[in-house]
């Protein structure tokens, strides 16, 4: 029996569930995969924020790769609700158990004044450059677009900052700010792989910029050739999505923590000592802060100065790479970031461990969201500044 298009849609609608735009809007962020089944050129002119494009013609062939788990809640939409009804029927037939189609489509969504955006689309070159990312269902073109739109501030272009900067630039993070007041020295090159022998004597931020734009011209580098201080930290840090801490002294780490609580920017933390590393994510008010973990800096006998400590060069490579990974997870909103967890690494034992960190309700820094800590200057020597310890 031959059917008209209208009859086919009516038949599909009888077998699927439809929701209105208001219902879909409430489900954004609850784990529902929002699929836009229009054509790419329609999608590029505007789509629901966070929706992923799988054109109707590629649905059957691509869905299993994009959404492997058939129990994933899926909300699908098109321009007016007809194509998405057919698409929802197909997904049900393929075994997807929780599929809904949005009645009225994107046209109704827009006319009801709901939030939408023009998705950042990748150029032809970018599609090739980032293809190993976009092949990952967890990233896709939408995730890559988020990376291209993200701003990350790296504190330090040294041991931890080098691998973090290289991988974040390679990943296509749109803006990388780099704070460092130092110049390249030959004793840096055993581990600081952003730099090279030709750059000895050059400010590290400039050397970093040369390396990074040669790796990926998509990335904008903002150089901050300065020492972080109470006077400049808020101005430097504001506007970034994530801060990657590759500093080398306690005063700076406490300062970054205080500023992150003001600006509510997550800080990816990394620290190294000889053969040992630590990494965590301090997400303001969602998890513990640095001061919840270490209420005050240790005395000198527990924290030798940078110069006397020594570090095996590969170690910051590993810990800095973990920091880059955590920053990318935060930007993409995927996986389980190291919030409330401290990863410790012992290179000689080849041992990773995870310790649980808790937010201290009495924490002098993050205990009261209405009153973030005052931004004060700490001892600016690369020595633990026990005298500046805050009292509760």
């Amino acid at each position: 029996m031959a059917m008209t298009y209208q009859e086919m849609i009516a038949l599909a609608k009888a077998e699927i569930r439809e929701i209105d735009p208001a219902t879909l809007e409430r489900r954004i962020g609850d784990g529902t995969a929002i699929v836009d089944c229009r054509e790419a050129d329609e999608f590029e002119q505007g789509a629901i924020r966070g929706a992923r494009l799988i054109p109707r013609g590629l649905l059957e062939s691509n869905i299993a790769m994009q959404i492997p788990d058939r129990s994933t809640p899926i909300a699908i939409y098109c321009a007016a609700g007809a194509r998405s009804a057919l698409a929802a029927k197909v997904l049900q037939d393929m075994g997807y158990t929780d599929v809904v189609s949005m009645a009225g489509g994107f046209g109704r969504w827009k006319s009801e004044g709901r939030d939408w955006a023009e998705p950042v689309t990748l150029t032809k070159e970018q599609k090739i450059r980032y293809s190993r990312h976009t092949l990952l269902p967890e990233v896709g073109e939408a995730g890559q677009a988020k990376l291209l739109d993200a701003k990350v501030l790296l504190i330090g272009a040294g041991g931890l900052g080098s691998p973090a900067a290289l991988y974040l630039a390679a990943a296509g993070v749109g803006v990388l700010g780099i704070v460092d007041f130092d110049v390249v020295d030959s004793s840096n090159l055993q581990r600081q792989i952003l730099h090279n022998v030709d750059r000895i004597g050059m400010p590290k931020v400039e050397s970093a910029r040369e390396t990074l734009i040669a790796l990926n011209p998509d990335v904008k580098i903002r150089m901050h050739n300065t020492r972080l201080s109470a006077g400049n930290i808020l101005e430097i840090m504001s506007g970034y999505d994530v801060v990657v801490d590759g500093g080398d002294n306690f005063p700076t780490r406490y300062l970054i923590n205080d500023a992150s609580l003001h600006l509510e920017i997550p800080v990816v933390h990394g620290a190294i000592f000889r053969f040992e590393g630590q990494a965590s994510v301090f997400h303001p008010y969602e998890g513990p802060c640095y001061r919840c973990l270490f209420p005050q800096p240790p005395p000198p006998e527990l924290a030798p100065s940078c110069a006397e400590a020594g570090v095996l060069g590969v170690l910051p490579g590993i810990v800095g790479s973990i920091e880059a990974m955590e920053a990318i997870k935060l930007i993409l909103g995927i996986g389980e970031p190291l919030v409330g967890k401290l990863l410790t690494y012992d290179a000689l034992e080849q041992e990773f461990r995870q310790l649980k960190l808790r937010r201290n309700p009495e924490c002098p820094a993050c205990g009261d969201r209405e009153q973030p800590p005052a931004i004060v200057e700490y001892d600016d020597l690369c020595m633990p500044a026990g005298t500046v310890a805050r009292t509760t």
Partner: protein, 91 residues
Amino acid sequence: MTTINLPTILRQHTGGAKKITASGRTVGEVFAAIGSEYPKLGEQLTSPDGGLPIFVNVFLDDEDIRYLDGLDTVVDENADITILPAVAGGR
């Protein structure tokens, strides 16, 4: 016996050993036993007021003992203790 994992900075007090063992029913008792064998290490694990050490964190398995029963936290047979200092290095 409980195994205690030591960070690099404290291994100078144990002749370089990364892991030591000590007996005790609670974390406090384990620390007291450590103190009698390694007095210098013991000093880092006590505070002047007899409370928790100030500059290192103490984890029983993966839990911070500040959020358990502090030094009174009961140590079970298979648990291990990890001492965690703040580390600043990054360059």
